[in-house]
């Protein structure tokens, strides 16, 4: 295999070796069902309890506020539908933004069909919501504010603490999708005033198919998955013991080294941002210059289209992603890029490069070397580029 440079850590991460090692005993040695009372079962149960403690501590919450799920999407669905259904006697109004992940957005759209009303706050050119607009959107029948912690495409970090304060002042539940933020910044749910928070293991070097929902004590919420008595009778299904153990190990590793991780990632990110800017013309950095995830680079590269970029980069071993319509099943360009005001064409040429723990300086150098000629080749093919050159 040729050189491979993975720069799509926001899509998913490789599992760390320590995570895999931690999971191994639970596949076929301590494999018992945690609901069983015999030794095999108690081993699994103990492992889950320990995992819950680790995750609770990482958020400054308590273990009985952590509920394991099958990932970020399930957590988002549970939070939004669960709050909507359990609190409809109070009202049927939900506030969210137009840059949420589809797991929140499509759930909100589904609830609209079910008779709920949803306000989609717009964002500014950096992807930030306006606190004043949020305040103005709250009504007596508002039951939930769901606003993501950090955006998966452009990395913008929302003013979570202020949102939490507003939610609390207005007696409205506040859910945040922290799938991208968790493991990339310090999160204290109490300090931030968060009532519900979604996280996912595979975004921080843990296993795919495991996540959690933080539910503050006392929050009124319906179940999404009914059945057995697992997760204190709030989320049924035989627990994914290895997944949960791996998740906790990943969280532990992330939080032991959180500051170092952030520093490392941020410096690689900035090197990439600067390096590309120097070599390529007509670049626009999407997202906020400072309120941004440590690992996120999102450039619009004018006059080229994202999928062609991705394919060309894949040919030289670089893996990253794009908000281009052509890479999505739906043929619509990224709703996030449209929300920050890009034109179709510019959104089309967006490239997201996300760095992570296994990214090296050499990887960054490699991208800075390989990307410019690819862009140039594609621009030479582009009917849009002609005009610009003509005008030069």
């Amino acid at each position: 295999m040729n050189k491979r440079v993975y720069l799509d850590y926001s899509a998913t991460t490789p599992m760390k070796q320590e995570v895999l090692d931690a999971m191994m005993p639970y596949f076929n040695v301590s494999f018992g069902n945690p609901s069983s009372i015999y030794t095999y079962g108690r081993e699994s149960k103990g492992a889950i309890d320990k995992a819950r403690d680790i995750i609770a501590k990482s958020l400054n919450s308590s273990p009985d506020e952590i509920f394991f799920t099958a990932g970020g999407s399930e957590s988002d669905n549970w939070a939004v539908k669960g709050i909507a259904y359990a609190n409809r006697s109070k009202g049927k109004h939900i506030i969210t933004t137009n840059v949420e992940h589809h797991a929140v957005l499509h759930t909100c759209e589904y609830l609209e069909k079910e008779g709920y009303e949803v306000t989609y706050l717009s964002v500014d050119e950096y992807g930030l919501i306006s606190i004043d607009q949020l305040k103005a959107a709250i009504r007596p029948d508002t039951i939930l504010i769901t606003i993501m912690f950090a955006n998966n495409e452009i990395g913008t970090i929302q003013p979570i603490k202020e949102i939490g304060q507003i939610a609390r002042n207005n007696n409205v539940y506040f859910h945040t999708d922290a799938v991208q933020a968790y493991g990339n910044m310090k999160i204290d749910v109490n300090e931030l005033g968060i009532d519900l928070m979604s996280v996912s293991a595979h975004k921080l070097y843990g296993p795919k198919g495991t996540g959690a929902l933080y539910i503050k004590k006392g929050v009124k919420i319906h179940q999404l998955i009914h059945g057995g008595g697992q997760e204190k009778r709030r989320r049924a299904g035989t627990e994914n013991v290895p997944g949960i153990v791996g998740f906790a190990k990943a969280v532990q590793l992330a939080h032991e080294n959180l500051e170092d991780h952030i520093k490392h990632i941020t410096s690689l990110r900035d090197k990439l941002i600067t390096g590309l800017k120097e070599k390529i013309q007509y670049l626009k950095l999407n997202g906020h210059p400072t309120k941004r995830l440590p690992g996120n680079v999102n450039y619009s590269i004018e006059f080229v289209e994202g999928e062609s970029l991705l394919l060309s980069l894949d040919m030289v071993g670089i893996a990253c992603s794009s908000g281009s319509a052509c890479t999505s099943g739906s043929l619509d360009p990224s709703h996030v890029l449209m929300a920050i005001g890009l034109t179709h064409e510019v959104a089309h040429g967006s490239l997201r490069l996300t760095v992570g723990d296994f990214t090296s300086e050499e990887d960054i150098d490699y991208v800075i070397e390989k990307l410019p000629p690819i862009v140039e080749k594609l621009r030479q093919m582009s009917p849009l580029y002609e005009k610009v050159k003509g005008g030069n």
Partner: protein
């Protein structure tokens, strides 16, 4: 996702560029995905003697443009009008369902250029019946459903 043939045409596209003093130029775009294809023709005695393209689009848009130019070069205008998107896709050993509309774009780009040629020279072709270059080439509503 893509066949080797698509990747080969994408990485080494044929006939990229512009023709100076072309006899016809056509440009089409897919408003949904935003891709744009521009085609230049040189026509002598009703035969397409040269063709060049420029495309702003996905891998399959570039590959379909490339192979379409190969398929019409040396053909008469009438023959070129018979080029179907299906033939383009087949020549590339197939396209993913969601990418079939890219081949439609290639077919439309050829037609659009010939439409320009017909207009400039006051000609009419059966193959252009019902073709409107300003039509929104949004042919993939149905395709979207079934992937």
């Amino acid at each position: 996702m893509y066949s080797d043939k698509v990747m080969e045409h994408f990485m080494n596209p044929r006939n990229v560029g512009e023709i100076e003093n072309p006899d016809a130029v056509g440009q089409v775009g897919n408003p949904k995905c935003g891709d744009i294809m521009k085609m230049y023709l040189k026509i002598e005695d009703d035969v397409i003697v040269d063709v060049k393209f420029k495309t702003f689009g996905c891998g399959s848009a570039i590959a379909t443009s490339s192979i379409a130019t190969e398929m019409i070069k040396g053909k008469t205008v009438e023959e070129a009008l018979n080029l179907t998107n299906r033939a383009v896709a087949e020549a590339l050993d197939g396209l993913p369902p969601v990418k079939m509309h890219c081949s439609v774009l290639a077919e439309q780009a050829v037609k659009s250029a010939i439409y320009d040629y017909a207009k400039r020279n006051n000609l009419s072709y059966d193959g252009l019946d019902g073709f409107d270059p300003n039509d929104e080439h949004d042919h993939h509503h149905d395709i979207e459903e079934d992937h």
